[in-house]
């Protein structure tokens, strides 16, 4: 089984390389190191939120509230910054994580103790959080000139030539990788997603798993919201509308099984990068930005079909007992 996943990620990686080179053929400036770093940095937000989504998808659910969580946490930190510009900027990192963990815990409680299906719980909180953004901001925007310099530097500031947001995304990815691969809780998530009743018999604490994935999901989404708001220099009630589906798209592209149980951090990162490259290439290739959604749709459908066909072949070769 491991081989199949590795193959899926390899093919996404290969596709990314080919695509990047092809774009470079048309527009050589795209391949400049500085530009590539910019593209990867641009993908940080999507990558972080998609990782937020990964845990929930692994247990066979879906978190529709990630975009609203981004918007709400983004608004709270932006308002805090607007009224208290003296607070050092780094404080907003733990602050957003904390806000997000609390918002995610609401989903977690609804799922773990309320026994609501994740999609329903997060459908409800999605509306509630989105409305809450409007309530706390009274419909006002917080714009770039109302944010402190330090706050604006959270995504853009540089360390060793790389933007902070890239470092943050890398740290999150490393944390998530270790969590999912080397801790008991992480393995429990896979076990539970692969076969819930088997995992229960094996002593996996169902509620703990559900709480864990939702708290992590909320925390990461909120962190992404902080970066989003400070990067684009605006916090408003429409922030990141529709982003929840982009995260599912990135996960599916990265070979994550939407029905749960399988999918890796690397796959999600590659899936996000793929979408990031496509979106960044359009202006470079002088193509209309209005093509973005169409291309994304074609890519998702192709990836979904390709993954399914690959799985079917793998299953067939397994059941016939012959190696391909």
């Amino acid at each position: 089984m491991k081989k199949i996943f590795a193959r899926k990620e390899m093919s996404v990686a290969a596709l990314i390389v080919v695509m990047t080179l092809a774009i470079g053929l048309r527009a050589p400036s795209f391949l400049r190191f500085g530009n590539l770093i910019g593209v990867v940095g641009d993908t940080s937000v999507l990558a972080i939120v998609s990782l937020a989504q990964l845990g929930v998808i692994l247990i066979g659910g879906i978190d529709l509230s990630v975009a609203s969580t981004m918007a709400l946490a983004g608004m709270i930190v932006a308002l805090t910054n607007q009224h208290n510009p003296q607070i050092p900027a780094w404080v907003y990192l733990p602050m957003s994580l904390g806000i997000g963990a609390a918002l995610g815990a609401v989903n977690g409680v609804l799922v773990a103790w309320g026994r609501l299906p994740p999609i329903v719980a997060s459908l409800g909180t999605m509306s509630i959080y989105r409305g809450a953004v409007f309530l706390i901001s009274k419909g006002q925007w917080v714009t770039a000139h109302e944010m402190s310099v330090g706050f604006r530097r959270i995504p853009e500031g540089k360390m060793l030539g790389l933007p902070y947001m890239l470092w943050i995304a890398a740290a999150i990815a490393l944390f998530y990788f270790i969590l999912m691969r080397y801790t008991r809780s992480g393995r429990d998530v896979y076990a539970f997603g692969g076969n819930a009743s088997a995992a229960r018999y094996a002593g996996v604490n169902e509620r703990k798993v559900e709480m864990l994935v939702f708290v992590v999901s909320g925390a990461l989404a909120a962190l992404a919201g902080l970066i989003y708001v400070s990067r684009y220099g605006i916090a408003q009630s429409e922030t990141a509308t529709g982003y929840e589906l982009n995260t599912v798209a990135a996960a599916v592209l990265g070979g994550v099984n939407i029905a749960g149980g399988s999918g890796t951090v690397l796959g999600v990162l590659l899936g996000s990068l793929f979408i990031g490259i496509v979106n960044n290439a359009l202006p470079v290739l002088r193509m209309s930005p209005f093509l973005e959604m169409l291309i994304q749709g074609i890519i998702i459908l192709t990836a979904v079909v390709a993954n399914t066909v690959a799985d079917m072949r793998a299953k067939k070769s397994l059941s016939s007992g012959r190696r391909l």
Binding site: L116, L123, S288, L294, Q296, G297, I300
Partner: protein
Amino acid sequence: MSTEGTGFVDTSRLTRMSAGRRVADFLLRWETMLFIIFVLVCVANSILSPYFRDPKNLFETTFNFMEKAIMAMPMMFVILLGDIDISVSGIISLSSLFMGMASLGGIDTPTLVMIGLGVGLACGFFNGLLITQLDIPSIAVTIGSSSLFRGIANAVLGDKAFTKFPDSFAYFGQGYIGTSPIPFEMVAFAVTAIIAGVILNLTAYGRHTYAIGNNKVAARFSGVPVKRVRLLAFAANGLAAGIAAVLLTSRIGSMRPNIASGWDLDVITTVVLGGVAITGGKGNIVGVLISIFLLGFLKFGMGVLNISGKVMNIITGILLIVAILLPKFTDNVRMSIRAGAAKATAKARKTA
């Protein structure tokens, strides 16, 4: 996911229950609770606004939610099957786009309508074929196709809009039946609802829908044509989105690529609030119908109070969660009442 709180025990025991417990059972039922909230909303509305007491104005308020109501009918089947479709607003956008282009080319109204419905149906079949033939989860397919459908509209129109439609086209979304105050949209919804109700409750297709939703594998081994039932449900969902596209485009008289965006989750919320389990197999049309008018009138009432649409979201969200948590809670209460009663009778028998 969870199978607790399914109502299937009730029917077999209904005959043996005392009258008192039957009343309690009825009061604790989902639809009853939903209906009570609905009545409360109506009472509050009529106190808040004199317009609400006038039937003519009451009909006017339905304009705002009839398109979604029509879409909720086939969506109910899709969710009962244990599937989901988040591409319906994308379908509206594509269907509306084709109507706009055709209208620019001077096509007459009846043909425009046929184009709108045809595009919707074709999109639904596209989804259904990918989902059933390749056995891909419906959420993955419809996330992709949603981007595809709306993406085509984006690519063609960009930030422009179609605003030129024939005068007679305006009837569908703005017209009334004869001289009565009844909007055409409402009749379209009533017809859709009757068809949906008949299919769900009186035909083999309806029973197959429940069977598949409860246990797909068992249904297949019992000879239910699982693929065909699911394919038809997605096709119907596309067709309903086509109908909604005709009504909505006609009502607002223009088409922009962002038309109806976010409606997928609105429609799904309506169906789930109506008591249809997102995991499939459980729910009925009565609940969904109450839910449609509850949400519609609730939004009207909040509009009268000048509450922003964004804040309404909070109330919709809370309502959704509470409405789903509450029956689970009351189910537990009912179960424990029944367990208590059973214990008591057993004791009585022992002593006798």
